[in-house]
Amino acid sequence: MTEITTMHYLVVAAALFIIGTIGVLTRRNVVIILMSIELILNAVNLNLVAFSRLYGLHGQVFAIFVITDAAAEAAVGLGIIIAFFRNKETVNVDEVDLLKW
């Protein structure tokens, strides 16, 4: 086995990003779509921390900001899911049509 380089981390992060993208595009359950968005954000975080190993602490600080954004996004998104479930008794994303007429 060879030395682990930055590229190894980038490939893992790319795999997680693509898996998250597939999850966002194909699942019907809104909760799992939000989880896939968390996967995407985590892939970005892994990239940032892997580059902070090379170029200083900026990447880690940005990773903390991304985690903050993820927390805010999860809170608001799950609040929207609760409000939607109260109206329609479902969490399927293809039945979200309250704003259409």
Partner: protein
């Protein structure tokens, strides 16, 4: 500085992270998906430890695995998913999703293949300020150079708190 990133641990964590990430998007029961997502987040925390970022690893465990995932599980318990589990779980966009994933993967593979020489390939000549006192240095950065983004993040969290409460209220 000896690298703690032994190849065995790296591949172990990578396989754990990717397999449980696939489980997140394929499991029928959202509780199982949430538990798989916790496994992914914990293995990413292991990656951060291997990359000499102990503070980010701790924040990852405390905030993600401890905070956000509890929020997810709480909402999964709140919304009654009994009949949702029995429904079909995937929508009809799988062709578009496949094309998008292939395009994204091809783009990333192309960029990584052509840009391979740009990054230093190993960590030998890596940044020297990362050993020791990681938390202290991140604190200095956060309250020094990144003061304004830090305050904006606090404002964002305030807005998110108010927004979540307003969204989840029964009648506004």
């Amino acid at each position: 500085m000896n690298p703690v990133a032994t190849p065995f641990f790296f591949y172990f964590l990578a396989i754990t992270a990717i397999v449980s990430a696939i489980a997140v998007i394929t499991r029928r029961n959202p509780v199982h998906a949430a538990l798989s997502l916790i496994v992914t987040l914990l293995s990413l925390a292991g990656f951060y430890l291997m990359l000499y970022a102990p503070f980010v690893a701790a924040v990852q465990i405390v905030l993600y695995a401890g905070g956000i995932m509890v929020l997810f599980l709480f909402v999964i318990m709140l919304v009654n998913l009994e009949q949702n589990i029995r429904e079909y779980q995937f929508n009809k966009q799988w062709i578009v999703a496949t094309i998008a994933a292939l395009a994204l993967g091809g783009l990333l593979a192309f960029v990584y293949r052509t840009g391979r020489g740009v990054f230093p390939s190993a960590f030998y000549q890596s940044y020297r300020g990362l050993e020791g006192d990681n938390t202290q240095q991140i604190g200095i950065w956060l309250y020094g150079n990144y003061m304004l983004p830090f305050e904006i993040a606090s404002l964002l969290l305030l807005v998110a708190i108010v927004g979540a409460v307003v969204m989840a209220k029964k009648r506004i």
